[in-house]
Symmetry: C2
Subunit: 140 residues, 2 copies
């Protein structure tokens, strides 16, 4: 079952943060659209809260370890639940769409690196740019 807005709100509550209308809506939005790449602007357009409030709330949620953000090429930062598995992204340099890096491929990479160098990757998000299959096909 997916994470609910209440889970997020309880996490805030347990950190002594106040529960407000804006935070409720923002948490609902994040919970409902988990797995998506949400920008602060996108959230502020959907919920009844000022953009700066969205930024501040996202910052709070991030400090609480609930959400994370990453910078993908140009454009705004994208936020997602920290618990979502797809922290690793493939970003198309042509159309800008992002897809998840297959978990198997990532695990193989980590295993290979550790075996060869002893280095243990811990990064929770990174992005690899390239051409998605669709743009690749269009690209004569």
């Amino acid at each position: 079952m997916h994470i609910t807005a209440d889970t997020l709100l309880n996490a805030l509550r347990s950190q002594g943060m106040r529960i407000t209308d804006a935070r409720i809506q923002i948490c609902e939005e994040i919970a409902e659209r988990h797995g998506e790449h949400l920008t602060a602007t996108a959230i502020s357009e959907t919920v009844d809260a000022n953009e700066s409030t969205v930024y501040r709330t996202l910052e709070v949620l991030e400090q609480a370890g609930i959400v994370e953000h990453s910078h993908m090429g140009h454009g705004p930062a994208v936020y997602h639940l920290a618990e979502d598995s797809d922290h690793h992204h493939l970003v198309c340099e042509r159309c800008g769409r992002a897809e998840a890096l297959p978990a198997a491929a990532y695990e193989a990479l980590v295993a290979g690196i550790t075996a060869e160098t002893g280095f243990v990757p811990t990064s929770r998000h990174f992005a690899l740019t390239g051409l998605c299959s669709r743009c690749k096909a269009e690209n004569t």
Copy 2:
């Protein structure tokens, strides 16, 4: 031997672009400081050219395939010679040291991604954070 400013300028010339004072200085700067991560602002501070000229020139050089840029977290984009960019790094989050990502591991990753998703990674510069073997050992 390192690439020279003339090489860069010739590349521009061969694309029908004009050679100007600003471009000469910018190319010299890039050639001299190759291997470094240069921001547009840093370049404009060193050479006698407006910041927007630097951006425009970098854009031209990028379209010519001579330089590339990447976004590292927050902060400005960094530019470097395309030929310098075939580096994938493992950056230790504890000691800050960077080591090279084994080519075999990277190639396996690319192959795995393409096989599973059709996505073709083209980025030749990305970094994975984690713990290096040394810090891992120290880490109780």
